[in-house]
Symmetry: C2
Subunit: 185 residues, 2 copies
DNA sequence: TGACGTCGGAACGCAACCGTTTCGTCGTCG
DNA sequence: CGACGACGAAACGGTTGCGTTCCGACGTCA
């Protein structure tokens, strides 16, 4: 029977290594070293660096993402932004997510995993938010979940991940207000 | 005297290699191979992979970015989006830019180069667009160039680079209209 | 014609990592 | 108590890239 604590140590080391050097530079030897574990222990569980990462990402996907229901479009958008900002400010996640997204452009398996773990979840949340807003009459029936997600999360991602800038007080409020205005335009 | 055609071949090979495998996996040997050139020719010109890339990015920065002046905020925003969409749809640029942005999070020298080559240029354009819009009375004086850029380019970047989705007909019009609404909100 | 410098190609020793195998240790079952 | 299996450590041969060095071929200029 494989020891659970060893498995956990490896999983944690993969996250750290992924954040520190990125997928491309990450090596099984480096993971084992960081986890304080023999290479054997890693290979006994996963057959490659890729399957290791796919496993982690899939586990992340299983968590699911709760859709906010604050009673207003602005409130829902704001809540979604809060969750996203929290994730993208996490020092490990803010390195790992963009790294894997770039890697996904070259590797279909990673692309699928990321899509299932992140993008599909967000898409679902956006769809629910829009449906509720349409029901309240805040948006026309023609509202498109994909474009909504672009307008809501895009600015935040650009600011936090691309520009890697600060998040001034009230920024999320402004983005939320702006996104609502953009959707209603 | 170093031969100019060899230098050009190396530069081109770096772009292709960067797009194909990314900065992390890129090797001097691979560049020389792709350029049909000896390793010696590369080392005679640049001292490392990093200085090679910094050189290319800086050359890119020197081009500058013209600010649109269409006479309306919507027109200017739309023009900026056109330029950005054109760049992000280019098969090489759409791989290289996100790759280097991720690398920038780990390497300050790359971060500075990218900032000078891309972000500062865009920031300047946004500032001009906002200034004109304020002069026309389309926006209040309080308009912030950074946030404007987030709202204008963010959704497009998210769609094209993160989600790697299509760009439906009329999408840029919608994003431009939405961005204007967001800025005025 | 001869000197010079760049060229591509090949090899150098070195380092890292690959994926596998072997070893002795330790903990857990039966 | 004994068999079993996972453990960390070390070594294996092989690959790739590092940065350097040497080579003969070629082009250019004096």
């Amino acid at each position: 029977m494989l020891r659970e604590d060893v498995t956990d140590a490896i999983r944690a080391a993969v996250f750290d290594e992924l954040a520190a050097v990125g997928f491309a530079r990450m090596s099984i030897e480096g993971i084992a070293r960081r986890a304080g574990v023999g290479k054997t222990a890693v290979y006994r569980r996963w057959k490659s660096k890729l399957s290791l990462v796919l496993d982690l990402v899939s586990a992340f996907a299983a968590q699911g993402l709760p859709a906010p229901a604050t009673g207003s479009l602005y409130g829902d958008v704001h809540a979604l932004l809060e969750v996203a900002a929290h994730a993208l400010r996490h020092p490990v996640a803010s390195q790992v997510i963009p790294d894997l997204l770039v890697e996904a452009a070259r590797n279909p398996e990673i692309a699928d995993a990321i899509k299932a773990a992140l993008l599909d979840g967000q898409r679902g949340v956006a769809a629910v938010i829009l449906r509720d807003a349409v029901a309240r009459g805040e948006l026309p029936e023609s509202a498109d979940p994909d474009r909504a997600l672009d307008v809501i999360v895009g600015p935040l991602y650009w600011r936090l991940v691309v520009v890697r800038g600060e998040l001034p007080d009230g920024y999320l409020d402004e983005v939320a207000r702006g996104a609502v205005a953009a959707l209603q335009a």
